[in-house]
Amino acid sequence: MSTNKRILLIEDDWEHIKWIREGIRGRWPEAVVDEIRTEKALVDKFDSVAGANYDLVIIDQAVPYASVEDKDRNRARLELNAFRAGSRCYDRLRKDPRTQDVPLIFYTIHDKIRVPPDAVYVQKSSTSIPTLLDRAEKELAAVR
């Protein structure tokens, strides 16, 4: 992997973000990591996300719809199950021709059964960061 790869993190938990960033920085110091913390943020920024040419997207399954600082949070899509927000983000990325080939990894507390059947999956644990990074490397290599 070249050192200037771009990675998108769809994750709401600041501690997990911190540890994933630490892990990526340790393995690929030059990598650029962006983060999106809500489903609505992905929807709102999708064009810029699609145009950013990310090399990898890491998705948590349970992310909120909007953030507390979002002034537009009253339009919450209450019928949407927050525990499937990651799957909806995954579908959106997969269906758009600009992002359909970007490697995606589900990184979540939930069981594998909760993520789309064809998705790459790593379960969060106290020892899972190296596993996540190994899997990310494999996905990036496959693209190359």
Binding site: P64, A66, V68, A82
Partner: protein
């Protein structure tokens, strides 16, 4: 022959005994030969060749020739009507047009009839006292020179005379007189013979024509009858009991007049034809010109005729004569199985005979019976075919309805009673025929009303008042057919009414009949079928039973659908409970696993740990402990198990210590980027140092942690979360205040319900199932305290209070 006709009122036997009729004619000829043996057989032969009454002129021609005369008229006494002492020309043979139709009783013919002796006038012009009489003048103008008048008797002892007229001035000789008298004696028999021949031929001919059935057969038959009796105007009116009972519609007619013929009659109308139908009695009038005199003399009570003047004018124009012929009229009832189903009428004879006598009437009555039988048979056939069709519609409709119910039950969105009711109206509309507006209203038991349901039928579309109908509700206590049907649980049928159901009758003022059928589930009415009829066509027979069957099916389907819906609702509740539990377990799994993972992650860093890591480790461990207890309390509450709360006395100092720890822990697990600050106001606790708070530290700690956890999740960036103590008259209060998602007065009621989260809360935090405040309240109540939620104040501050008893 008369006796024969009387005996053979059965038309079938009459028609079938045609050979007997021919035998009668031979008998008649034999009798004629016996009476006047010396008369030429030519007279008999000419009579035998007559098939129509008009042909009888050939007999009179033969008689004239026998007597060496150029004309011959058969004069009959008027057998009915106001003037029985007049003569009317029954039949004639003349070289020109007959211009005199009546002779007075004091005429020469009258003298002959009265005396019973033949009279000869050889020179009418010179006969003193005659030529001045008015009735002679037309004969003189015709060129009559001599008359030979011979008395005779027609059947039923009617006095008559046959007059021979000469135009050549020659006198009647003795030999001629003898031949004339001999032959004239046979005229009565021959006349009867020809008429009976005509009658039998007519009956047989009409019988043959009617076998074809249909309106063409009726028209052909009428033409045949009119030809046989020389009627100018004729018509047949018949009732179609299937389509329009009580209406006698024109089925066949011959109408030479320039005004419109009546298309239909009803029994109760003031008209000749209506009178005949109403009284089931023949009306025969000699001359409509003398209508009033005849009616008063013949006992036709309340008989009305309005077209006299118009008819006289029309006949003058038609015949182009100044002298009107007798406007004869006969109308006979048409019957079937003793019931009058119509009338057949004839008016104005265009040639001999000039009027309808008793025998004519008898023949016409027999023909009317034939027509009645034919029409009745056709109605029976149609009725049978219609009943068969309705039966097929019913069985198919009922079958379709059941299949439909099955499909409704299998629909993904569940069965719809309205769709099923709508479907039921289609076969009912087809079966009911005249039911052009059908509807079903449903019972709203809670409001004791009939509520709008579904409707069907052409009239609804034409009326365009569906919305008005749909919006209308009718109290069950109303005195309407539909309500009565529901109240009494029975079919309510009403004919010729507009008052049984004003809400709809007002929309359809021409409603003629209604049928209301209750839809029952067991013994409970759930709706009512309203079938509304217009026009003359009645509801078909057994419609009440048919509607009852459909209603019974609908009741069953209604019950099935209700049961199905109950099952669906139970399933939905179970599914919802399952989903809720599934989500709660997912959430618990997430919430308990996440701090455990983090705890373990921090634990690995312990060898190089700084204070932040230690705090984070402790905070996450507490979070895990909190979630575990959360699960424990949730399960207990779900089972309605009591939460044990051993009462302790807690000092504010103890509470301060614990709450400070919790605030620190919450601070440690919160994202530093959000810059939230958790404070415990120590002063407020220390100020209440003397108070002894009653409660349970473990439960209180859990309730307070829930409040701090919520504050951590839902507070705005860069704000403070403050914990302070206060005292009210009844309670020791621990308040947690923050700035974040606002809470309205309505929100605070719902936030403590199980599984309820505020809309905004759901949108900004993925995990959490709305159990925190629910459990906190239950815990506080288990300690004899409570949870109080204060709506957001004008400064944007939210406050949650834990209320505890104190000493």
């Amino acid at each position: 022959m008369t006796a024969y006709l009387s005996r053979t009122r059965s038309k079938k036997s009459l028609i079938d005994n045609w050979h007997l009729a021919l035998y009668n004619i031979r008998v008649m000829a034999t009798e004629v030969h016996r009476v006047c043996a010396d008369v030429s057989l030519d007279l008999i032969r000419s009579a035998a060749e007559c098939h129509l009454m008009a042909d009888f002129s050939t007999v009179l021609q033969t008689l004239a020739e026998i007597g060496g005369a150029q004309g011959c008229v058969l004069w009959d006494t008027v057998p009915f009507g106001p003037d029985e002492r007049r003569f009317i020309a029954l039949a004639e043979y003349l070289p020109g047009e007959l211009v005199v139709y009546y002779l007075p009783w004091d005429s020469i013919t009258g003298e002959v009839v009265r005396s019973g002796k033949t009279r000869i006038i050889d020179d009418l012009q010179r006969e003193v006292g005659l030529r001045e009489r008015g009735y002679c003048k037309p004969f003189l103008e015709m060129g009559v020179t001599g008359i030979c008048s011979i008395p005779m008797t027609l059947e039923e002892n009617r006095a008559a005379a046959v007059n021979l007229y000469r135009f050549d001035g020659a006198p009647f000789t003795g030999d001629e007189l003898a031949r004339i008298e001999g032959a004239a004696a046979a005229i009565s028999y021959l006349f009867n013979s020809v008429r009976n021949e005509m009658g039998f031929r007519l009956l047989r001919g009409v019988g043959d024509l009617l076998r074809k059935r249909g309106s063409a057969a009726l028209q052909d038959s009428l033409a045949r009858i009119s030809e046989a009796i020389n009627a100018v105007e004729s018509a047949i009116y018949l009732e179609d009991a299937l389509e329009a009972p009580g209406v006698y519609a024109l089925r066949a007619f011959i109408w030479p007049w320039d005004w419109e013929i009546e298309k239909r009659y009803r029994k109760d109308e003031a008209a000749l034809t209506s009178w005949v139908i109403r009284n089931a009695r023949t009306v025969r009038l000699l001359d409509l010109s003398h209508f009033e005199e005849e009616v008063s003399a013949s006992g036709y009570e309340e008989l009305v005729y309005r077209n006299k003047g118009r008819l006289e004018e029309a006949v003058r124009r038609l015949f182009q004569k100044d002298v009107l012929p007798p406007l004869s009229f006969v109308c006979v009832p048409v019957k079937h199985h003793g019931k009058t189903i119509g009338a057949m009428r004839f008016c104005v004879n265009k040639a001999r005979t000039r009027f309808f006598d008793d025998r004519h009437v008898e023949i016409l009555e027999l023909v009317a019976d034939q027509i009645g039988e034919c029409w009745g048979a056709e109605l029976d056939y149609r009725r049978g075919a219609e009943e068969k069709r309705r039966f097929q519609l019913l069985t198919k409709g009922a079958d379709r309805l059941n299949v439909r119910a099955f499909h409704e039950l299998n629909r993904h969105d569940g069965p719809s009673l309205d769709r099923q009711l709508q479907a039921a109206l289609e076969p009912l509309a087809e079966i009911s025929g005249s039911g052009e507006a059908l509807s079903i209203r449903l019972v709203d038991s809670s409001r004791r009303e009939l509520r709008p349901g579904v409707f069907h039928g052409r009239r609804w579309c034409e009326n365009g008042k569906e919305r008005e109908f749909l919006d209308r509700r009718i109290p069950l206590t109303a005195n309407y057919g539909c309500c009565e049907s529901v109240r009494d649980k029975r079919v309510v049928r009403a004919e010729r009414t507009r008052d049984t159901d004003p809400p709809i009758s007002n929309m359809f003022p021409d409603t003629r009949r209604t049928l209301h059928t209750p839809i029952l589930v067991g013994d409970d009415p759930v709706g009512v079928i309203d079938i509304r009829g217009f026009g003359d066509q009645p509801f078909p027979p057994l419609l009440d039973l048919i509607a009852g069957l459909i209603a019974s099916q609908l009741g069953l389907h209604h019950h099935m659908f209700e049961q199905f819906r109950n099952i669906q609702q139970t399933n939905a509740r179970l599914q919802k409970a399952y989903d809720e539990q599934s989500r709660i377990l997912d959430d618990f799994h997430h919430q308990i696993t996440n701090p455990v993972v983090k705890t373990a992650t921090y634990a690995k860093k312990l060898p190089t740990a700084d204070a932040d890591i230690i705090n984070a480790l402790r905070g996450n461990a507490r979070k895990a402990e909190q979630v575990a207890r959360h699960m424990q309390y949730f399960i207990a509450l779900a089972k309605d198990a009591p939460i044990k709360a051993d009462e302790q006395f807690m000092t504010p100092a103890q509470l301060l210590e614990r709450l400070s720890e919790m605030a620190n822990d919450e601070q440690a697990v919160n994202d530093p980027a959000r810059k939230l600050q958790f404070f415990v106001n120590e002063t407020s606790f220390k100020a209440l140092a003397e108070v002894k708070v009653r409660g349970n530290m473990e439960l209180l700690e859990h309730a307070a942690m829930n409040l701090l956890d919520n504050a951590g999740k839902y507070s705005d960036l860069n704000t403070n979360v403050t914990v302070r103590a206060s005292l009210s008259q009844k309670h020791f209060r621990i308040s947690v205040t923050n700035r974040g998602i606002p809470i309205s007065r309505d929100d605070r009621k719902h936030l403590v319900e199980r599984g309820v989260r505020g809309d905004q809360a759901m949108s900004i935090v993925a995990h959490g199932r709305g159990l925190g405040l629910y459990i906190a309240e239950k815990l506080m109540q288990a300690m004899g305290g409570d949870l109080e939620i204060i709506p957001t104040d004008s400064g944007g501050l939210n406050e949650f209070r834990l209320l505890l008893r104190f000493l």
